[in-house]
Amino acid sequence: MGTLLQHFDNAHTAQTPRGLPQMLGALMARLEPNATLVAWPQSSYNYTIRDLLAPLKGMTQSLLSKEAHQRVFGSVAGPLNFVSFPRIERDNVLQHAIFGHELGHPLATEFLESERTTPAYSAALRRVTDALMAQYKLSTAPKGALGGSPAQTKAFVDGLRRVLVLRKRGLEELISDCVGALLFGPSALFASYDILSLGELDDPPGERSYPPRRFRLRVVKSLLDAEGYTSTLESALQAAEPAISAALVRYIKHINELTAQQTDKSNLGADPLIKLAYEWIEETLPGGTDFVRRRLESVRYDSKRMSAEVPELIERLRIRVPPSEIGVPPDAYVIDWRSALVAGWACRLRMLEDPAAGTDDGIEQAETINRLVLRAVEFTILGDEYRKFLTGRSSA
């Protein structure tokens, strides 16, 4: 319980920009209507999401009578999602696009559970088993038994387990990355690059079995290209914002060059177990992507809205006004708040090329953009709620 309580320490509002829980709450309400959300800034540099309800229920089961337990937890319909993020990034609203990945984990788990009973999974598992048996020189004769020494059998079992873990962890991360890309569009790519480029891009899966960073970037970039986000954004900005468009094109080109290199895949091929796992991952990933594409149909970020909204939002940011709406009152048009993030990223990428980048003035400018985008998120969500309230009142 102590460990649990320390999570809530520092979770007060001065530590948590309110745009963040609003943003997450708005997405969560559409992804999982029964879910409750707690956001917590943590000292370690990590973004996580986990369900607190199950462990809380487990911890209190022996402390409370059955009736009391039912009274406490009976009314909680959905998961209690506990979202933590690095405190150092709390005001860096553009980076919060990474939460799309975190919100993707439950969907990735759902996909992995659903595929276990499919013929494709059974066939692939059989193929991997055969390959491992050949690798460890095990024979299946006599029928049904593993012909080999105990050491060989143990090596085989360990190897199979390792392949399954690598595949599961790999797909969890990669499918979650796809969810992030569909929920946040280009912001997911820029935020992912910011984080993933902090480490070695080609490191093969280590203790935590994460896919290589370059592999993940490639998956996000390919999906965004396939869905038309990057080309749509480039063409939307080309006429309206040529300088920003040029900076954006250069940035995306840089990521293209990084993901075109296959050095991560060469590293994956060097270890036979990792090679087997990743061949299987590459075979499964298109199905996983289709799965989340279907699941997110009504929630995903619409590239047409992005194209229609982002240029004017950049214009507002240029005069240091929250990018929260387009048009003028009383016909001001409430945007999709994800467009505010894209507009913020577009400005930031342009600012990175500015000679002032990294100076006190450049940092102050970047922080101003963050504050304005955060306000835009809050205003957009508030505007939506207010309109719903007015509609409800007039129809009552």
Binding site: A14, R316, V321, P322, V328, R375, L382, G383
Partner: protein, 201 residues
């Protein structure tokens, strides 16, 4: 100088060129535009003073440490904030403004709140070109606590034409919430002349 009436305010809000536009966001209701003013709403952010950590404020001393002097509170929609008698609290407007360079403004209380004892702003001028949320200095002059909510229309912005103004470039441009400012920050040179030479209390 002429105070802007409803039609001028609406016209400025609809100005095509964004740099000449009066921006008020979010303007949740056009009913906020009155005959010669704009009702403005209380925001979610409140900054109270940590009295125990602040023996005095002296503009001649650079002893300002925001984390020791102020405590920030966020009040959700449909939640209460109690303003106690004779307590000074900073709050920001819900709306974020951008005034064209030809327009200046000042903030004043709304009569119904004034009668309840609420003083809304003591530093009321809004300069041409100012861009940001306006800080309200809330003071309860009444005898009983006042219950405030974010979204309440507690103040009004009166706008007027400004001629020959230069654009506001001050410290509070682009602010999105209310915070205490270091009163000694811009006055050191001047204060070398004015400030008391004997040590303070």
């Amino acid at each position: 100088m002429s105070v802007l009436g409803q039609a001028r305010i609406e016209s400025l809000l609809k100005e095509k060129a964004i740099k000449d536009r009066l921006i008020v966001t979010p303007l949740l209701s056009m009913e906020q535009i009155q005959s010669a003013s704009l009702d403005i709403r209380l925001g979610h952010d409140f900054t109270t003073t940590r009295k125990g950590n602040l023996p005095y404020i002296d503009a001649g001393e650079s002893n300002f440490e925001p984390h020791r002097h102020q405590s920030r509170h966020y009040v959700n929609r449909a939640e209460r904030f109690f303003l106690h008698p004779h307590e000074l609290v900073l709050a920001s407007t819900l709306e974020y403004f951008r005034l064209p360079i030809t327009i200046s403004g000042w903030v004043t209380s709304r009569s119904r709140w004034g009668r309840a004892g609420l003083v809304i702003a003591t530093a009321t001028a809004v300069h041409p070109g100012f861009t940001g949320a306006i800080t309200l200095e809330l003071l309860n002059l009444g005898e009983v606590p006042l219950v405030l909510y974010p979204g309440l229309r507690v103040a009004q912005l009166i706008l007027a034409d400004a001629e020959g103004a230069s654009e506001y470039q001050g410290h509070f441009n682009f602010q999105v919430d209310a915070y205490h400012a270091d009163v000694s920050e811009e006055t050191q040179l001047d204060y070398e002349f004015w400030k008391p030479t004997k040590p303070g209390p």
